[in-house]
């Protein structure tokens, strides 16, 4: 592990971001070099990754950094981070419900903790704590269940009562006179938020420095399969041959898998979010309420970021709706009445690839050389690093890493689902 780490750190990036260079470029002449370059598209690559979100870029980075596989292209039909990776609410945590899920997301939290140093890019990971509120006996039971599974896996996670909640979040209405009084919460101190764009850009810059080609505005329109093996992709800029193609397209992932003839149990639904004008810092932890279908965090700039449950029907539309804003505002005010005069600045939506058990679908498919890293639903940003690391290992070694064996596509034929709904449907 240590040797892998040092080899990751040793790569020669041009123009390191440092205090010295900040001064040099700030007062001196000249421009910062571009963080990643444009390249001519080659006729073939060893690995083609479809989708330039955090997953696609992380797979590319770990292929290059951990395994020396650098003849890799990442293709995106728009710009990198234009999908869910640039639209999410950036919550990172590992307090899931199943042991498989907890172990997997824990590895991602650990990778995130050292990512800024590894990538030489400030990703602003702020481990400010994460609270999942329980407003009913049954959700309190689920919190206890999660806390016990979490502790067994060595995760810092415990159930706390209303007084402790009040001490962490003085602005919250923890009285018994609300419509849904707060009975307790699952408290997860290492959880927090991150600067999602910085994660995308940091991986892109580091992958580029190691030789990966990033092709933006390049839409995959077909996948060539011959004799049960993937042979390459067709794009709106021409065809490219490759023995390995990885589907990292989240909300669009069934369209890509369809091109290779692989059926997936995935439907696409929008998830909406909103952000307010900045206010003085008053809210430290991330707050999630499954009963009220909302969550909120305060960014380092002071804005409040809100989210809710996924929209109630499948769609590829990224338009926001009035229902969302109305319900959100009503529920937020139940929790924090003092926010009534704060103005919402923006609302938006992103596409989520929902699976029946709220766990991802990762690994091999019936088409040799065609891999999937999908099913990220409303919760996949936090998984970017671990998914990149394990998918790269699978591609390089042809062996499915232990951490992701439970998440294979074939689990739906065996009925071996990994039910995470209790920990992922609103909490993301």
């Amino acid at each position: 592990m240590l040797s892998r780490l040092s080899s990751r750190n040793g790569h020669g990036m041009r123009a390191r971001y440092s205090a010295f260079n900040l001064v040099r470029y700030g007062i001196g002449s000249g421009e910062w070099p571009r963080a990643w370059r444009d390249h001519e598209m080659k006729a073939s690559y060893d690995v083609i990754i479809v989708g330039g979100g955090v997953h696609g870029l992380a797979v590319a980075y770990y292929l290059a950094a951990d395994h020396g596989i650098t003849n890799v292209a990442v293709l995106d039909k728009g710009y990198i981070g234009s999908g869910g990776s640039g639209r999410n609410t950036a919550i990172i945590r590992s307090n899931y419900l199943t042991p498989e899920g907890v172990r997997f997301y824990d590895r991602s939290v650990k990778l995130y903790e050292r990512l800024a140093g590894e990538l030489n890019f400030n990703v602003m990971f702020s481990q400010r704590g994460h609270l999942t509120l329980a407003h009913s006996d049954s959700s309190l039971r689920t919190m206890h269940w999660r806390a016990e599974v979490n502790k067994l896996e060595g995760i810092d996670s415990e159930v706390i009562g209303p007084q402790e909640i009040k001490a962490l979040v003085p602005f919250m209405d923890t009285s018994e006179s609300t419509r849904y009084p707060i009975l307790g919460a699952l408290y997860h101190p290492p959880g927090g938020i991150i600067r999602h764009d910085a994660v995308v850009w940091g991986y892109a810059r580091a992958a580029d420095a190691l030789g990966v080609h990033i092709h933006q505005n390049t839409e995959v329109t077909g996948i060539d399969v011959s004799g049960g093996r993937v042979a390459g992709v067709r794009t709106d800029r021409g065809s490219i041959a490759a023995p390995v193609v990885v589907n990292c397209t989240a909300g669009w992932s069934t369209l890509i898998s369809d091109m290779a003839g692989v059926d997936m149990p995935v439907t696409t639904s929008p998830l909406q979010a909103a952000v307010t004008e900045p206010v003085r810092p008053f809210l430290r932890p991330v707050i999630v309420s499954g009963t009220l279908h909302i969550y909120v965090s305060q960014t380092d700039r002071g804005e409040l970021v809100f989210g809710a449950s996924v929209d109630p029907f499948p769609s590829y539309s990224m338009r926001g709706s009035l229902e969302f804003t109305e319900e959100l505002a009503g529920h937020i005010l139940e929790l924090m009445p003092s926010l009534s005069s704060v103005r919402v600045l923006r609302q938006w939506a992103g596409l989520c690839d929902m699976t029946p058990d709220y766990s991802p679908i990762m690994g091999v498919t019936p088409v040799e050389g065609f891999y999937v890293d999908v099913g990220w639903g409303t919760y996949g940003f936090k998984a970017g690093p671990v998914a990149g690391e394990t998918m790269a290992q699978l591609i390089a070694t042809q062996k499915t890493p232990e951490l992701i064996t439970a998440f294979g596509l074939e689990r739906f034929s065996r009925g071996a689902l990994v039910g995470e709904k209790g920990a992922a449907s609103v909490g993301h």
């Binding site: 049954s138 959700s139 689920t142 669009w252 069934t254 369209l255 059926d263 997936m264 149990p265 995935v266 439907t267 696409t268 499954g290 009963t291 279908h293 449950s309 996924v310 109630p312 029907f313 499948p314 769609s315 590829y316 539309s317 338009r319 709706s321 009035l322 229902e323 029946p356 739906f412 034929s413 709904k421 209790g422 449907s425 609103v426």
Partner: protein, 108 residues
């Protein structure tokens, strides 16, 4: 906001309805293979384009109907009473007609 034309009640806000999903035919338990069960239970076509799907008007006539909707624009071009198709929805007996819980209702 999306308007859905209920064939019984006319156009109403989509929040009055519950999405039921693509029509799926229940396989014969005597002959169905594991792959057929898997597809029936989990595989959905999830197209980016026109789709034919079932909805339930829970805050209205409390009946099922079929809609043709474009999943990218959410435009709706036709809606029908179910007639014969009702038997092949994922809810052949109409058992869930009495429940308010949508497909995603749950502990959250």
């Amino acid at each position: 906001m999306m308007l859905l034309p209920c064939p019984h009640c006319g156009p109403r806000n989509s929040s009055e309805f519950r999405y039921v999903g693509e029509g799926t035919a229940r396989p014969d338990p005597g002959t169905a293979t594991i792959g057929v069960w898997r597809d029936y239970l989990y595989t959905r076509s999830n197209p980016a384009g026109w789709t034919t799907e079932n909805w339930f008007h829970r805050a209205g006539c409390r009946r099922y109907f079929t809609v043709e909707r474009h999943t990218v624009s959410n435009a709706v071009r036709a809606s029908h009473r179910p007639a014969a198709q009702a038997r092949t929805t994922s809810d052949p007996e109409g058992l869930s007609a009495g429940t308010e819980r949508g497909p995603d209702a749950g502990p959250g």
